[in-house]
Amino acid sequence: MTELMNSGIELMLIGMGIVFLFLAMLVVAINIMSSLVQRFFPEPPATPMPVINDISKSMVAAISVAVHQYRNTHK
């Protein structure tokens, strides 16, 4: 039983160590990646007004078509 606990403690130390190591390396990697991307592939500051999503955009299109059609059919 003590042996099992020892395994558990070792697992905890190694485990948390790897988790921190892994995510810390990811932090470093992201920082490098972001600066590279921002330098070599600069982007216009995202989409300026993403007020309405794509579905609504196609809704607008669909509605204007539909309304148009509706008028044509019912006049």
Binding site: M1, L4, M5, S7, G8, I9, L11, M12, I14, G15, M16, I18, V19, F20, L21, F22, L23, A24, M25, L26, V27, A29, I30, N31, M33, S34, V37, Q38, F41, E43, P45, A46
Partner: protein
């Protein structure tokens, strides 16, 4: 006459065992929690229903040749949790995390809950009647990852007998995050800390969002290939969504496909809720340790955030550390809500989403470690 007798002998009333009755009650309780209390209904409803179906005497729905027997292959092979993880990946926006990468460290700290409850499970072996192997303990610990598919994937590999209890505990405690976390968060922070406002985040470019899942996958491959199935499928889903060129695949992955697999996975998990495996002292241990895992993970995240706030150039509200357990997006919402109590103009939601999605990565990494080291 003979037929009437044989019919009576084929009724449930005649054949019920007390264990089956009890497990059905468990199933109905899960349905109640799902429907009435809105506890993760997408999973707990099919799981509860699966529990009922699999405990019907005579019908043999979870035995060889029955529906749930076949569906369980999807869990045994890992296919179902991996497909769900792909769908979750497609729904995840890493923007807030990429804008503030150091929040990843909060997602690491919160995984302490996993390993603490692993130790706790081993310690519980001191209680007579409990006998957790290292594999069992690891599978129980993963509840602290607060991530359903990861928990199911790990439990199905390390401790299939505990799968039912572990899945139920994982989803139940995720649903209980708004109750479990706030007291811990308040206890570990001062009013002033909870008032801290964080700097507006920069916007993240599309290119960064495309490169990130590939980078994550690459790091996993290099360092921890045992986490590659989980993180790989997660990264695939995320890439499909971020890249914008396979919109129809991404939509299907995060809608119809994940819905279909969720129904099947839930029913199949329910099929593991049988008296033989569930009505054991071990289950009480699992439920107790699961709660401990969530609490410790929350505490570890908050404490790490306090430490980071001390050393960081920009202010960090310690509340967002609690979101590191994952339980996306519930934990981030809790952080936001507790923050608003102290400062009604302080919207922490976006800031908490960083550690929140980092927690998903963190628990997948922890899962890889457990799968790799626990033999």
């Amino acid at each position: 006459m003979e037929n009437v007798v044989s019919l009576w002998h084929s009724t449930g009333l005649y054949n019920f065992t007390s264990g089956q009755v009890f497990m059905m009650v468990v199933g109905f309780v899960l349905l109640y929690l799902a429907i009435k209390k809105n506890f993760e209904p997408l999973l707990l409803l099919p799981i509860g229903f699966g529990a009922i179906l699999s405990n019907i005497p005579v019908a043999g729905i979870a035995e060889e040749g029955g529906l749930l027997y076949y569906l369980y292959f999807g869990i045994k092979t890992g296919i179902f949790p991996l497909l769900i993880f792909m769908g979750v990946g497609a729904m995840t926006d890493f923007g807030p995390m990429l804008a503030n990468p150091k929040t990843l460290i909060l997602g690491a700290a919160a995984q302490f809950g996993i390993f603490a409850s692993l130790l706790g499970a081993l310690a519980l072996n001191a209680v007579p009647g409990l006998d957790f192997s290292l594999k069992d303990a690891a599978a129980i610990g993963i509840i602290g990852g607060a991530d359903g598919p990861t928990a199911i994937y790990v439990a199905s590999k390390l401790s299939p007998d505990l799968l039912g209890a572990i899945a139920v505990a994982a989803y139940s405690y995720m649903a209980l995050v708004p109750l479990i976390q706030p007291p811990i968060m308040r206890a570990l922070t001062t009013e002033d800390e909870r008032k801290i406002e964080m700097k507006q985040m920069r916007s993240v470019s599309k290119a960064e969002k495309i490169v990130f899942p590939l980078m994550l996958l690459l790091l996993t491959i290099l360092l921890l290939p045992s986490a590659a199935p989980l993180i790989g499928m997660f990264a695939l889903g995320n890439l499909m969504n971020a890249c914008g060129v396979v919109e129809r695949l991404s939509q299907t992955a995060q809608n119809e496909l994940i819905n279909i697999v969720t129904i099947f996975l839930g029913l199949a998990v329910g099929s593991k809720l049988n008296a033989h495996a569930f009505l054991q002292m071990e289950t009480l241990g699992v439920l107790a340790l699961g709660a401990v895992a969530f609490a410790i993970g929350t505490a570890a995240g908050v404490i790490m955030a306090k430490i980071m706030n001390r050393f960081s150039s920009t202010p960090i509200n310690p509340l967002i550390g609690a979101a590191g357990v994952s339980a996306v997006p519930m934990a981030a919402r809790v952080a936001n809500k507790v923050g608003l109590e102290s400062n009604p103009h302080n919207f922490l939601l976006m800031h908490a989403m960083g550690p929140n999605v980092a927690g998903v990565i963190g628990s997948a990494v922890a899962a890889g470690i457990l799968l790799s080291l626990v033999k």
